[in-house]
Amino acid sequence: MAMLDVNNVSKSFGGIRANQDITLNVPEGSIIGLIGPNGSGKTTLFNSIVGYHPIDEGSIRFEGQEISKMRVPEIARLGLLRTFQQTRIYGDMSCMDNMRISSPDEGGVGMRDLFSSISPEIDEHAAELLEFVGLHSKRWLLAGNLSFGQQKLLEFAMALMRKPRLLLLDEPTAGINPTLINGLIDRLRLANTEFGITLFVIEHNMRVIMNLAEHIYCLAHGKMLADGPPEMIQNDQRVVDAYLGAS
């Protein structure tokens, strides 16, 4: 059984059928890609998986547990996390505070949190992860003052801080300086091998996704168009047509 099982999922917004009958699975420990032209329903699928909106039909299972009826924070606490296409960080807090607040709360909430300060271990771990994404020297700056690319890296580090089992990345390289992209690919791979985080990645940059993913799904017009290993997808005439607009 795969870690994430998406079965026959459909989702419409009014008359627009954003996802139709999507089936895919993400095995534990893998890096899986999701591609498709703009508006093909990739982000909608991500939103459905993490519980951002209810799905119309189908089922979504995470480690065998049905999650399609659960709410966003519950799913996140199971260890299924996502990053946003439009990067989301806490702008008026320092990078360190962004990291501190991303540490798992270990189920404890409320009155005890009120007075307990942040433990040194958490600070240490946060600093390590910021080092990992190359933001260590900027850790006391307000996150909102970082450049867009740096904010993306920070968001990635925040996700790692939460110690997810499966991480959904929505265009991790969009807006990042081309020379930094190679470094980011390495870090994604390291997160996969070293930290044992399964990755499910939406990406428009073909070079990146062909390098990174071991299996790729391609969506077009809300339907599953093709799936297979990178070499196969690259040479699939339907995928090429979908991207170039031929039909």
Partner: protein, 339 residues
């Protein structure tokens, strides 16, 4: 070190006020009240980013709860359900007065917290403007409803028990009451803002969707934050009723047009989302307001309106925000070289 000395000197001076400036004790008690209100508003308005116009709701509830307890605990045969229920000034002995006040204050705080929890579940899921407008309605509705309940004197108001003879000066007692409340609130919030809880509030302010996506139980945190504000406001309300001596439902208890708006302005003036901003803002605002009332009588409200415009236009981030923009290093924002 300098900061500690300054705080120490300020505390000593504040303690000595009833002896140094006996004529200004009531006014200075109101300054502390203003500080308390501002601090409590900043918990959710500043730190959590939920602009509430309804905090005065808890202030009023606390005031009435305490007043009712004080009047009825050692009942002297007041006909509580007569039209004149509010007009009778109850005379209590010294011990009766302070016992009933103590019980009243505790009960006011507890009831405000309970109301905040129940109400919070209903309205804290709203965001931005919707939350602001909903809370605005809350304060106004409460004032109107209180005006119709005979048990608490309805529209003609309610008199709080007379301060007992031989227990020192009423003004000095309530000066220390608000002074202690302000210092206690400041210590409590200082602790909270340095904890994980404080960080969660900031996270909700900056991006609530992100906070949810990261698995934070935002609703629970929001409710707790609102309850803390309600707790402080309830105690403040209980004291204010006794300091003023007469509770009018709209002009004293649910006084949205004065304290209800002022507590927001002071925070904007001092700096939202900072610990000391509300304190600084409250003191400056109150001093300015008193000067207007003294020297610009007749035009005082116009001057106050102008002051509000100036605050919003020239100090959008408040005094503390302005200081932070100028000297970010003082607030720990720095880039580490060579690491």
């Amino acid at each position: 070190m300098i900061k500690k000395l300054a705080i120490g000197a300020g505390l000593l001076l504040s303690l000595a006020v009833p002896y140094l400036f006996p004529n200004y004790v009531t006014m200075l008690a109101f300054v502390w009240l203003m500080v308390v209100l501002s601090l409590s508003w900043d918990i959710i308005g500043g730190q959590m980013g939920y602009n509430s116009f309804g905090n005065i709701f808890f202030f009023g509830i606390g005031m009435y709860v305490s007043a009712v307890v004080q009047r009825d605990m050692f009942s002297r045969g007041v006909d509580r359900f007569a039209d004149t229920a509010g007009d009778v000034a109850v005379q209590l002995t010294q011990s009766e007065y302070f016992i009933s006040l103590g019980v009243g204050v505790v009960l006011a705080a507890v009831i405000c917290v309970l109301v905040a929890i129940v109400l919070g579940m209903a309205i804290l899921s709203m965001r931005g403007h919707y939350f602001a407008i909903c809370t605005l309605g809350l304060g106004i509705a409460a004032g109107e409803i209180a005006s119709g309940i005979n048990f608490i004197g309805a529209g003609s108001g309610m008199v709080t028990p007379l301060y007992p003879e031989g227990a020192g000066s009423r003004e000095a007692f309530y000066y220390y009451y608000f002074f202690a409340l302000a210092v206690g609130t400041l210590i409590l919030l200082n602790k909270i803002y340095q904890s994980r809880f404080g960080l969660v509030l900031n996270a909700i302010r900056d991006d609530e969707d992100k906070a949810e996506a990261m698995g934070l139980r935002t609703t629970r945190y929001k409710t707790i934050a609102w309850s803390i504000a309600a707790f402080v406001l309830g105690i403040a309300g209980a004291g204010t009723g006794n300091l003023v001596g007469f509770i009018d439902p709209i002009d004293v208890a649910f006084t949205g047009a004065t304290f209800g708006v002022w507590m927001i302005l002071t925070v904007i003036l001092g700096g939202k989302g900072t610990l000391w901003g509300p304190v600084i803002g409250a003191v400056i605002f109150y001093a300015t307001k008193e000067l207007f009332w003294t020297y610009l009588l007749g035009w005082q409200r116009v001057a106050l309106g102008l002051l509000i415009v100036v605050i919003v236009v020239f100090f959008p981030t408040g005094i503390m925000g302005w200081v932070r923009e100028r000297w970010p290093h003082r607030f720990g924002e720095r880039v580490e070289e060579g690491s």
